[in-house]
């Protein structure tokens, strides 16, 4: 059992409420870094000093936050209205168990049972604003005493391993956090590595924007968990990425063209070390690379991701070999990164 992934995914840290995850990570890295601090937005920033062989300053980012819900109102019957914090496909929410507020009160996102559905309702999707979280309170007063408007709700999923596959919530992006922690536990790099465990990625890449501004590095690497979509399909179309085929390397997504020199450096490194990799299908989506790249006078940046099925649902799946290879590839990428890779003439 990978305890690091278990502990990180079972911790709760919905965007802008990342404290529990931050404290957990802080304790996991404190003995392996030279300095750390928490910035104004809540990003955990740590410096691992290099050997002095290279003058570079390199930022490695992984966001700590996960998608979740926020309580917006309590109904007369004691159930709670809520809104999404981050992006959801509404139909994945019905019937799921959530933990609400600092006390982690258990609730369920209620659904009208199939017996009571009219024919047309069976074929339509219930919208989030028609769903309620039910904590089993007998009335409004009882409910309000336990859960307050403005509190966060997160999914409840125990981490499990099914052979080489791991199931859990929030692999997006605790898988990236775990990889970054492993990078910090390794021996020093030729240059100073700044780690940012950033906040509020799921609501608009917000934490990394100020983290990158504060660190002002020469180059940046973002560690992510990217949606895999590799289930059976009749058409001859690419899976965007598939489980078990290795780290996923971004070239272009909806908001970023990755630095081509860094992408080439990463793919060369993978080939040289016999690490499998897949180019993520160019198109939609976006990572913290977008905001890091455009910080100040511009920062060369690229993304390596663990493929994850069923992203932004309570039950994600990753392949543990993919995860291990992301750690391996990220470490090899850093150790072989020289100023020449990103030099412009």
């Amino acid at each position: 059992m990978n305890e690091l992934l278990k502990n990180l995914t079972e911790a709760v840290g919905v965007a802008s409420n990342e404290k529990e995850v931050r404290l957990l990570i802080r304790d996991l890295i404190v003995d392996h870094v030279d300095e750390w601090h928490v910035d104004a937005m809540g990003n955990l920033l740590a410096l691992k000093k290099g050997t002095g062989a290279s003058p570079l300053r390199v930022l490695v980012d992984a966001h700590m936050d996960e998608v979740g819900l926020m309580i917006t109102d309590v109904d007369s019957n004691g159930t709670f209205k809520f809104e999404g914090v981050g992006g959801f496909n509404d139909r994945t929410l019905l019937g799921k168990v959530v933990q609400v507020g600092p006390e982690k009160i258990i609730g369920v996102i209620g659904a009208r049972p199939v017996h009571l559905l009219k024919a047309e309702q069976r074929n339509s999707v219930v919208k989030m604003d028609a769903m309620r979280i039910d904590i089993g309170a007998k009335n409004k007063d009882a409910a309000s005493g336990k859960v307050k408007v403005g509190e966060y709700a997160a999914f409840v999923t125990e981490y499990e391993e099914l052979g080489e596959t791991a199931v859990g919530k929030a692999f997006d992006n605790r898988a990236g956090c775990a990889a970054l922690i492993e990078l910090l536990r390794a021996r020093p790099y030729p240059f100073d590595v700044y780690a940012s465990f950033s906040v509020q990625e799921e609501v608009g890449l917000r934490g990394a924007q100020v983290a990158a501004y504060g660190v002002n590095p020469d180059a940046a690497l973002v560690l992510e968990c990217t949606p895999a979509y590799d289930l059976p399909n009749d058409d001859d179309v690419s899976p965007n990425v598939a489980l078990g085929k290795g780290p996923s390397i971004y070239v272009m997504d909806g908001v970023t063209i990755q630095d081509p020199r860094l992408v080439a450096h990463i793919t060369r490194t993978a080939a040289a070390n016999g690490i499998p990799f897949q180019i993520r299908q160019p198109g939609g989506g976006g990572t913290n690379t977008a905001v890091i790249q455009r910080t100040r006078g511009g920062i060369p940046a690229a993304t390596i991701a663990v493929p994850g099925r069923h992203a932004h649902t309570p039950t994600m799946m990753i392949n543990l070999d993919d995860y291990a290879n992301v750690v391996k590839l990220a470490e090899a990428t850093l150790r072989s990164l020289t100023p020449e890779v990103i030099k412009r003439n």
Partner: protein, 330 residues
């Protein structure tokens, strides 16, 4: 000048992959610049020193062009692709693209059932003459630009990438003609404009200019059933007042008009409903920049037959030189 235009408009340089463009432009400006820099994102910045009495002025013309990127190679060796910037499906049938390694591809779409409808982008494919992924010379993540030779017919100049290689030409020509300037002028040949005015943003953050002027194409209202717009080919440089991303600095617009009037340069005032330019990035960089744009009127923007008028191009060059050669008071 047509030789320079031809060289730039036929070159490869989709957003994010502008290395070749930079190598083309650099020798054109080297003799006229006091210093040349390339920044972290790849913007080429040619600096012309002033006499110390003027302002810091950034001129931005983007090197990148719209294009496509491979998302999938089918088992028969055809390529599915996504867009880089504003690629319009109805401009694609039968067009040709070129990859960085020289491979040429032909674009066509899946079977058309209804001639009144245009397929979405994911129903188009590129044929590079391959018969399987194994003999396909390009792979997922490779970028391509369109292919179309430059054409000069009378005063009308047509190419795949007037947007915005013609802006680069205006900048280069202005550099050549500008004998002296009171200003510290940064001629920035920017990257990644077509995907969200990204290069100009980091360049402006870094250079921190007082004044920013973008050089870019704008739409026209002078073709059959056009959306009404008071811009025509051949009626002079367009001085941007507003587009959907920026309201130009009023003092800068006034100054542009004054300079054009004083030098008898024909101009038109531009209000563009949709689209924006590097001026938007410059305007909101750091603590703000007095930003404006000199636009080259252009028909058929984002098609492979983008068409400008040589007289308008000349007016834009003259106007830029007049602005840079004299004091700027806002």
């Amino acid at each position: 000048m047509n030789e320079l235009i031809k060289k730039l408009v036929e070159a490869y340089g989709p957003s994010g992959f502008e290395d070749g463009m930079r190598d083309l432009i650099r020798p054109e400006v080297e003799a006229y610049a006091d210093e040349i820099r390339v920044d972290a994102l790849g913007n080429l910045i040619a600096i012309k020193n002033g006499d110390g009495s003027g302002l810091k002025v950034m001129i931005a013309a983007h090197m990148d062009e719209i294009g496509v990127m491979v998302t999938h190679v089918t088992k028969e060796g055809f390529l599915r692709f996504t867009n880089i910037g504003g690629v319009l499906p109805h401009n694609l049938m039968g067009s040709r693209v070129q990859f960085a390694n020289g491979t040429i591809g032909l674009i066509y779409s899946d079977r058309i059932e209804d001639r009144g409808k245009i397929h979405p982008l994911n129903k188009f494919y590129i044929d590079v003459g391959a018969s399987s992924p194994d003999d396909c010379p390009v792979s997922v993540g490779d970028a391509a630009g369109f292919v179309r030779p430059f054409m000069a017919q009378g005063s009308r100049l047509t190419a795949k990438t007037m947007d915005d290689r013609i802006g680069c030409v205006v900048a280069i020509e202005a550099m050549k003609r500008l004998k002296s300037t009171p200003h510290q002028v940064y001629f920035a040949f920017t990257v990644q404009e077509e995907v969200g005015v990204r290069g100009a943003m980091t360049a402006a953050n870094h250079l921190d200019p007082d004044v920013g002027i973008a050089l870019d194409v704008t739409l026209t209202g002078d073709v059959p059933e056009a959306r009404p717009m008071a811009i025509s080919l051949g009626k002079g440089a367009a001085i941007k007042v507003k587009d959907s991303g920026m309201i130009a600095h009023a003092g800068l617009v006034r100054l542009m008009k004054q300079r054009a009037d004083a030098a008898s340069i024909p101009y038109q005032l531009e209000v563009l409903d949709g689209g924006s330019t590097d001026a938007r990035s410059m305007q909101i960089a750091n603590a703000g920049t007095a930003a404006g744009c000199i636009s080259i009127p252009c028909r058929y923007v984002h098609s492979q037959s983008e068409t400008v008028d040589a007289g308008d191009v000349e007016s834009c060059i003259q106007l830029l030189v007049e602005i840079l050669a004299n004091p700027i008071e806002l």
